[in-house]
Amino acid sequence: MKKFLPWLVVGVFAAWVLAGLLPSTEKTFHTREFGQLPVLRDGRIQPLDSVARNSLRQLRNRQSVLLENGKSMSATAWLMETLMKPEAADDLKVFRIDNDEVKSLLKLPVGEKYFSFNQLRPNYNELSKEGQRIDQIDSKHRTAFENQTIKLYSATMLYQRLKVSLKPAGTDDFAAELKDYEAAIGPGAAAVSAQQQGKSYDTNAFDTIVGFLSDYNRAAQFATGLFVPPTNPAHTHQDWKTMGAVLMDAVRGEPLPPAVGAYAAMVSSYRHNQPVEFNQALAKYRLWLDEKMPAEVRKGRQEYAFNFFDPFYKATVIYVVALLAALAFWFTWGEWLRKSAFNLVVLAWVLHTIGLAARMYLERRPPVTNLYSSAVFIGWGSVILGMVLERIYRDGIGCVVAAIVGFVTQVIALNLAINGDTMEMMRAVLDSNFWLATHVVTVTLGYSAMFVAGLLAIIYVIRGVFTSSLKRATADGLSRMIYGIVCFATLFSFVGTVLGGIWADQSWGRFWGWDPKENGALLIVIWCAVILHARWGGLVRERGVAVLAILGNIITSWSWFGVNMLGVGLHSYGFMDSAFKWLVLFVASQLALVAVGLVPLKMWKSFQEEADDAPLPTPAPAK
């Protein structure tokens, strides 16, 4: 029986993963199909579902909305409400406010965390006044209150822009209004031109057209996302337009593109709660899109599938289960637990890989393009190292390492994603797949290795000091793992750092400029060299290498995050207030572990039999 258990466990989780792919039918509004519609936003074609998820992340750090009745509302469903029935969306509690000072600024109850736009409305002037003031302050010098205020302020701005992105403000029956508008254009244009020439004009026609245009102009100015695809066959991304802009163009005699009518029909039927009509209009628009722009439709569908399948989330859950299984193995030594843990790690890593590959395919980019993807990739590389270690040593350590780093990096990635689109376009200087694929990938794999070595060292110290489970053979094995992984880290960090220098030489004209990010990478290389030479020179032994490897965690995290927080240099991506707090906590925890590791060997629970008589054997000569 125990022979099959590991396969049974992984089978259950594989079934859970696959269940997410099962088709299900929607009875009322076809939300899913609406979510697949392509729009151009942040410089790239993406499905409306991505617009919805990225916006919600900025508003409430999550990809869905929790309704007051305890039910969850999907991102696309929320976006449909916001785009088409904003007066109802104003009552949904989508704004997350953590800071009590911000709550008191808006006179909101301190006990709650999520608020609706209608709740913010009475004191919105205060927020807007503060927001505009803080906007002038350099982000480096903002206080916690100011950071939270500006974050909320930008969230409300984004929300208000979404509200006018599809349906102009004040419009109710969009389809009917569109007809009135088209009828008003002819007489309206005549009246306006007569008025400008100082002749007598039809005041009714004049007022009607001006009324339309003032709403449409606002929609054109504030819309986020270019919803209306071009109609000419040889179109480029430059030809996509906002709904407001095409409505404005119509007054100059330009024909309204089919998308306008289609969206207007959807808005009207959605507002009048007519799912059948809505689905018809949606289907008709999708047919038109299929014919006119198959590539964009494909992109929308594929990215939607990626969002929907959410491989990273599923991988994260499985990493946690794998970690529990591996830790249980250490307490019970039931081999089936270790095998289950390993199988689960492999399953999670497969999902992790699918996610990475899907992102690379969707973006047409190497795996690492920003901080978010660096976290995902560091986890991915570390899990490979953990799996290799587990295959070699079969003692559960590799599984624990893989599961912990896999899980933690996913959590970090999730928190980095709250700034919006994680597939953002690359700024000019970064727009080079060759260097992103070589320099960035190697440096990031170097980070992976450093964290794996550091985590192995933590296991060495904790098991050694607090338990008696660290037997001589296990300790030797761990120590060899740390040493081997540090060698690997040296290789990747050095090559990655120098490749970075060469990229800098290619784009800025100097190989080395002492920029903080360059220095951070250099610190890792130096630290690896320190560890290796100290070991070869006999200055440190097993325990010393472990302590140095834990210090390596600090250096790596500083190089990964810390330098970005300095706010200087060419690599600075803005001050990250909340990340700073976590970095400090992490560094403190590592220093505490170093202190634990430096406790005299007599006080370690492990190695008691050898601590008294013989000193630790020196490691075999390295070369």
């Binding site: 151009l40 290789l491 120098v498 190989f511 610190l523 020179g537």
Partner: protein, 382 residues
Amino acid sequence: MRLEKVFDFLASLKLSVVVLTLALVIVFWGTLAQVNMGLYKAQNEFFRSFFIYWQPQGATWKIPIFPGGYTVGFVFLFNLLAAQIKTFELSVKKFGLVLVHVGLILLLIGQLATDMLAVESTMHIREGEAKNYSEMDRYVELAVINTTAGDRERVTAIPQDALTHESEIQDPSLPFAIHVRHFYPNSAVTQVDPMSGEKGVATQGFGPQVSVRETARETDMNRRDMPGALLELTTPQGSLGTWFVSLWIEQPQHVHVGNQEFEVVLRPQRLYKPYTIHLLSFTHEVYPGTEIPKDFSSMVRVQNPQTGEDRQVRIYMNNPLRYGGETYYQASFDTDNKGTILQVVRNPSWLTPYFSCVLVGIGLLWQFLVHLIPFLKRKVAL
């Protein structure tokens, strides 16, 4: 005997560990210092120095408290060389390490050479214009232009070093001597209010209309010092008066001596080339619907009368032009998108990092595999 001991010390692993740790401290400290000092100053004080000094606020003295980048770099270099000489052995097991260390030695020497020999300047060209010189951002020169001879101007350029000494400068081509009364490394210049009765800084040219205040040196990488100099021009017959020249004052000021006409102007130091670069067009692309820059590119025409070359090249992000021993990078542009700023770098040792990267990379990989393969074989055998 004693020499041997020194050599052993130089070649020891302990020294390597100490030097590497010192390097770690300097790099970390120097990075933090950039927050307050700015990149340029921190670079000079931490990395391009033999010692790091401590200077209390407002004090005129300073004491060395830590070895600087050069000291550590040189000791590291000697350590590497000595260790290589001492332990040199050509074997499969050690060949990787030899490659790594030779690569590192090359990298260090290459960077030292870059520090000594590289010259950075910028070339700012407006659309439709051409230039045959680049300008040094951090050095100025005093140009004295003889405009008497009609169509052919003769320029005497006096470098910044000569100005900072605040001494007397004589040149056989000039009928007057230039006394630098005061040199302002960085300054703010304001218009004199005629009603206030305040006097201008100098007696001639724009001098009576402006007043000057010495300001602290810029440390920010993106900002530059605005130097100025108060000059007195004298002929054997006596003083011609004082002139104030400054980077703030771009227009030349006139000097009459007898029937000769001169113009004086303080300008960024120029490096002339035997060729000209025309800017045909500059483009700045953004992603649609955003402000995110997609690409900056300059279409230029290079004309070299010596070689008869006349061709068009596009300089854009990550794609510099290497020409005449110099490299032209797309660095910046005018806010109206009608002009480009090219970074011009002359660095004879630019290729060393490429070689050293290859050497160290192969060496590390070699060493890694030499240990990993037998280890895995053992494991598989078990």
